[in-house]
Symmetry: C2
Subunit: 538 residues, 2 copies
């Protein structure tokens, strides 16, 4: 073992120690009482464990919106809410390895403060009063290491809370746990050389998604009432779908990014965003409204001054269904979920139009060129700082492209602008309110196998808001058999289809994606509530 | 003469012919009645010429806001307003060569349509009913050549009106003349190999500014009631200042750019904007409000959905005065105008704070690197298409930098974001409502000599709205003597100061710049009205 190798391992161990030291040991389940590693679906384990009271189980299975109401009506205190989520998160950590650091002491102190204020004033301190929120690790927390999944960055301590954290805390939120992310922040998975691999609570053989995979597992296991992820190509939506929860990619420049760490922060061709994960569409809206009601653009000039608007439930609705992006065929469970949704929507009187994807293959090519425009120099530098081993999915990212010139970058930016205008025009022309589509070609992939991000990343490139809703369906061994009529349309398509076999994806939840119009975030969420209600009705 | 040389000359002649054919000959002044070339200040010539009636002189010296009122009260018809401006513009063309194409027939037909509608409905068709607007040539007009000042682009015919033209026309505006711009669209001057050089109406030895120099001369000579220029480094503000009129650089992404032609349209590090020129601050506001009240973001997804807000006249005001950017000393007339303004503002009870420029030298360096990030490949290609001669100021532009990598571009974008946040924070911290500063280190430079754009371009980089107001002052041979105490701070500074001698700049008007906060366009214009009123009071 050479010097560099020893160094990176030592650095990684240092960060891992932070995690270890932070875990609230008293909430841990004794090792012998944990389910065996062979048990794949552990989503129901908290109830079986005996570690949480009925009241704590109820608290942790309550939406953020209702939690706030319950604290407002003095049914629950912020402290007991925080304890309940910390307990559940501790078990989650034992089973899923989703965290990078617990903030138990801070969280409990903050909960007590909130309770004291409420006792005195009988008023909630804000719209997120006492809501335990998990936060993706690369969103900085004052005084704490922020490594963004890179061993080489493990000495960086955030001088301040990231702006989004400040706004959440101002609204009364409690940050109780920080969550895992993959090396490079660009995998559809969540493993790195520091805190290792996060597992999917519904099937531990499967990926929790990425790059906000720790958040996905956190919300899927109900370790938190709300989650703050990020999304530049699907990073908040893929984990939401894979873990059976709700995830949102708002239009860019609405939520602040200051205080986040990632490679190449000046890359603006495809803008990353903060994207919440939640247990309901109402909770996604609560997150957005709580932040935007504070006029974050007054603090951060990179944001646009567009307040959160209240939008009524739509009286009529036209949904464009995109069953396939014409690049990669979805797997059988996704196609079934789309058909079920289509039938239910039609039966409910929703106007359904087939949505022919517009140049998704072309958009995918632009995506890969723009993500690799610097020839991955930023990513390579971050890796080389420590000499840490390059994980296989990172190798895949490094193959996205070899870099382009500024001249070519401008050409692609311009093409992207034309495509945005065309897509915008088509939605208007066809009278489409929202597009319903897959989130990914399949349900949660097996670890290290998911790579095709086209179903989510097109909306980052086009800068449309997009929300993931669970369908209430999961992979069904009888219904979701392999498609015998399948004919590959390309090598990529064949490779992706070959990954499917129903028995590999037992219990995996099926989410779908709804896409709105640029800056139509409010309308999208209002419509998503209605669509979700219809497609999950019996 | 080689083939290429003959070719470019023939192509240029073809475009020049379009101009020649379009001039309303009946409005021209016989050659012998024109003032001699030696007469420098021709701003008063329309009155002397006998070509315009008193009524026509009055019409052409009325603001757009008042013109609309007068047409609403049936005092004037759109047709007579259009005829008056066409007459004045024809004389302007003879004296200043500011146009690239007259649209007299279209304009008169449109004016008659407006009058007919008004006769029938007794209602104005929109907030710009019958207002003759000149439009910079690179803003496309349906069915007409749009060469953007490049000989090699002279075969390009715009398939549609640029969006900004569509919105102006929808509001009732009449586009009666298109205006000149320099080769490359990046000079602080307006000469190209097609329609030649535009002159300054107050002193024909001086530049009208650029790149919207044709617009500057148009408004300065009152050839139009409003003007549509563009601004990526000062291109609407420098011409406004040099021609004694008002010019505005709004925050980016508020006015649509679709349908404009320029090199490197995908360059987004420093965003170009449409910038109006006008005869009052009210008229600038009229332009903005008329367009934004049509919700242009619904048509163009590159815009932010921020409506134009009504803002009251401020009850209190804190102005930061920046007398020098610490890079290049202003010339004596500018310093005098700032001192006069400061005295008057103080006397009027305005709170005045010295504004210490924050890293302007650093911002200038970033500006030059970002403007030349493609190694000028786009510009070179546009020039090489025809092989037209490269003008000296274009040579200067080509020396701004040799190009950078995408990696470096991202670094600079990130630095720019940090600087934006810092500048924003400083203005908030120091309690500054607006900054008052020079527009340029001097008044209109002599032809081909103006190059330092730092006083305007910093606000493009920082994306602050900035407005130019005339002070009512002009260069005074007695007051504006060279500063004997001047000591150069750099080679650049010495070179710029050496360009000054009062006798060179006889009659040149002095404008000043007011800078607001990012997206505070409405507040800036409201404050500019007040500041203008105070500094032009006796």
């Amino acid at each position: 073992m050479g010097l560099a190798a020893r160094d990176w391992a030592a650095q990684a161990a240092q960060c891992r120690d932070i995690l270890k030291q932070s875990i609230p040991i008293s909430y841990q389940i004794p090792h012998e009482k944990l389910p065996p590693k062979s048990r794949l679906n552990v989503a129901g384990f908290p109830r079986e464990s005996g570690q949480l009271s009925e009241r704590e189980l109820l608290i942790t299975e309550t939406t953020a919106t209702d939690l706030v109401n319950k604290m407002g009506s003095e049914t629950w205190t912020a402290e007991e809410v925080t304890v309940a989520f910390l307990k559940r998160a501790t078990i989650g950590q034992q089973l899923l390895n989703f965290a990078t650091e617990f903030l138990a002491e801070d969280a409990l102190a903050q909960a007590k403060r909130l309770d004291a204020i409420f006792q005195e004033t009988h008023e909630l301190v804000g719209p997120l009063h006492g809501v335990p929120i998990s936060v993706k690790e690369h969103i900085g927390i004052k005084g704490r290491v922020c490594n963004a999944g890179f061993v080489g960055w493990s000495d960086f301590v955030s001088p301040d809370d990231a702006y989004i954290v400040q706004f959440l805390r101002n609204a009364g939120a409690i940050i109780h746990v920080r969550t895992n992310e993959p090396q490079s922040l660009m995998h559809m998975d969540s493993a790195n050389n520091i805190t290792g691999r996060t597992l999917n609570p519904f099937n531990r053989n499967l990926s929790p998604g990425g790059s906000s995979g720790g958040e996905g597992a956190s919300l899927g296991f109900r370790c938190a009432a709300l989650g703050a992820g990020t999304d530049i190509g699907g990073s908040s939506r893929l984990p939401a779908a894979f873990n059976g929860v709700y995830g949102f990619r708002p239009t860019a420049c609405r939520l602040p990014l200051a205080g986040l760490r990632a490679t190449g922060p000046g890359q603006e061709s495809i803008r990353g965003v903060v994207g919440p994960l939640a247990s309901s569409v109402d909770d996604l809206e609560l997150f957005m409204k709580s932040v935007l009601d504070q006029n974050p653009w007054k603090k951060d000039p990179s944001l646009v001054p567009v307040p959160w608007r209240s939008v009524d439930t739509p009286v009529s609705l036209t949904v464009g269904i995109m069953k396939d992006d014409n690049v990669v065929h979805p797997h059988p469970p996704i196609t079934r979920a789309l058909l079920v949704a289509e039938q239910k929507l039609k039966a409910a009187g929703v106007n359904i139009v087939e949505w022919e994807p517009f140049q998704h293959g072309q958009i995918n090519k632009i995506t890969m060129s723009l993500f690799s425009a610097d020839g991955h120099r930023n990513l390579k530098e971050a890796l080389e700082t420590s000499g840490e081993p390059i994980l296989p999915l990172t190798e895949g990212v490094l193959n996205w492209g070899n870099g382009i010139s500024v001249y070519e970058n401008w050409e692609l930016d311009y093409k992207r602008e034309i495509l945005r205008a065309q897509y915008h025009g088509l939605m208007q022309q066809r009278g489409i309110d929202v597009i319903l589509s897959p989130v990914y070609l399949g349900v949660a992939p097996e670890h290290e196998t998911g790579t095709y991000i086209g179903y989510t990343s097109v909306w980052n490139v086009l800068d449309h808001p997009a929300v993931v809703i669970p369908t209430g369906l999961a992979v069904d061994q009888d219904l979701d058999v392999s498609d015998t009529a399948y004919r590959p349309r390309s090598e990529l398509d064949a490779k992706e289809q070959a990954k499917y076999a129903p028995e590999r994806f037992r219990d995996a939840p099926i989410g779908l994606q709804l896409i709105g119009k640029h800056f139509g975030d409010e309308e999208l969420l209002a419509r998503a509530k209605l669509v979700h209600q219809i497609i999950t009705s019996p």
